[in-house]
Symmetry: C2
Subunit: 323 residues, 2 copies
């Protein structure tokens, strides 16, 4: 099996050679633009690695790998309309570049294009893969709806938040590995285990994303505090709210829109509360718990341990852990 770098370039090549019609230009150009926008290709990588646990041959899984990536980019395209987001991966979003109607319709065509790729799946696996794909796709929509619901809700519990990110983030990773495993000929039991693996990995990944947004990552040099300035209900905010007394809650609820504070002060005020309530350590603990669970599930597969090494290493690199 190829190295991860080789796998990534196989995916990039496959995505680049996917034929899109030239006309109507405003329907298809945004799809090509979205797919050329880069990203980590995390979901097709997971799909191919899952397939590779059970099968030497993973070529026949490439269309499905491309389908989950196209689907993922479709969700970003429509999310950017709903979030009014002008920038995606350092470039103008489709919404900002072409306007709302083009973004809606080319997003629709992109979702259909994902299903078009499923036509290339060997027919004995098509019913199973179509079903997994549909479940995954609906769960992602459900997660996005809960996320939007939370913006209007005064109080969101940790349980509700975990349920939301399980749908919005984990479902796509879970769908990808189950489709990959199915195409590798895995048993139903191994598919179920890999679903749990990817679900836990997705939760760990999302919580780490929440943590890094406020506490940063020297490797990324990313701007810090975006979630705080937007007043977003992240794992950190929800955990802090659940541990705080009423006056502290009021700080958390209002700091981001307090006209007396500049951005740095807003971020500092919220992070002071987080630190006092030990929120970073509580979040780290939850990340470790989820990530350890994910890795330990890999050991329970019927496949020999050496076949899961690649997946383990990929999961570790995804979480920024040394192998």
């Amino acid at each position: 099996m190829q190295t991860n770098e080789q796998l990534l370039s196989v995916i990039e090549n496959y995505l680049a050679q996917t034929d899109l019609p030239a006309e109507p230009e405003l329907l298809y150009a945004p799809i090509g633009y979205s797919l050329a926008g880069g990203g980590k290709r995390l979901r097709p990588m997971l799909l191919l690695l899952a397939c590779g646990i059970f099968s030497e041959n993973i070529q026949h899984a490439l269309p499905a790998a491309a389908a989950v990536e196209v689907f993922h980019n479709f969700t970003l395209l429509h999310d950017d309309i709903m979030d009014n987001a002008a920038v995606r991966r350092g470039k103008p979003s489709v919404y900002a570049k072409w306007g709302q109607n083009v973004a809606i319709l080319s997003g629709d065509a992109m979702l259909i294009q994902a299903y078009r790729l499923l036509e290339l799946i060997p027919r004995q696996w098509l019913p199973q893969v179509l079903s997994t794909f549909n479940t995954m796709a609906l769960e992602v929509c459900e997660g996005q709806q809960y996320d939007m619901d939370f913006e209007q809700k005064a109080k969101v519990s940790v349980v509700e938040y975990m349920h939301m990110i399980e749908l919005k983030t984990s479902a796509l990773l879970a769908g990808a590995v189950v489709i990959g495993a199915t195409l590798g000929g895995a048993t139903e039991s191994d598919c179920r285990k890999l679903r749990r693996f990817a679900t836990e990995l997705g939760l760990a990944f999302q919580l780490q994303d929440d943590l890094l947004d406020s506490y940063g990552d020297e490797r990324l040099g990313k701007a810090i505090g975006g979630d705080i300035l937007e007043g977003k209900k992240t794992y950190l905010m929800i955990t802090a709210m659940s541990h705080a007394d009423e006056p502290t809650r009021e700080i958390l609820r209002t700091a981001y829109r307090n006209p007396k504070l500049d951005n740095e002060q807003k971020i500092a005020a919220v992070k002071a509360v987080y630190d006092r309530l030990d929120v970073p350590r509580l979040t780290e603990q939850q990340i470790e718990l989820r990530f350890d669970r994910a890795l330990s599930i890999l050991d329970t597969l019927t496949a020999p341990t050496e076949r899961t090494v690649r997946m383990r290493e990929f999961a570790q690199s995804l979480m920024g852990r040394k192998n």
Copy 2:
């Protein structure tokens, strides 16, 4: 085989019993609302009638019939956002009732729900049906994009217009009959013929729709002149533009936004030009040509004539013709 009324109630029952989750409510309630909104169920009727030409049993075609109806309603849901349309079938559109973000996301879920229904297709036909469905779905998006492109275009030719409605209107009818015929066990040659039948029928239907919008239909008692007041490029407008001299073209281009005219005068001014240029008769001729072609294709199927009677009668009733 059941009467058309019975078929219609079979479709309504099937759609009504399709389980949608209760939560998240803002994702799924708009889907149920859209599907309960009525409509002629034209596309699932065509699918089942096409299946019935080749097979006594049409039960197994019901999920696909529901899928094309769900898809059709998904396109209306998203079109209403793009067109800023507040009313759909006499009720508030999803867009007007729940807002843009809910309409985008529940529309996405509805499109996925259509593919969910395809899971219920007997597996030997799934690859073929999925492929036909995807082609149909992309063509409808292409038609919608061309339609939006035309709003920005100074000049649209009759050929361009016919190509647009072939995608926007006919493709869905064509997809429906081909899927129905496939599930009835039709040969590829018969599927191709039925595709041409539905394409011509769709063109006739759309041109008649254009004609009735300006010249009305005593049976419907519908308000007349909506297309004229919106300055829409319909078959009538495009035909008139292609036959008119430059001063007359200027009337056609500007009447709908002429501040000196009230609505009745605007409609009267444009229709006076249509009448002078014989546009209603030219349109009628084109409708007859397309409709006759459609019916004559039915005679060339390998199925005996008595098996196509139902489809013929349905096409006639669709066009408001006596059987």
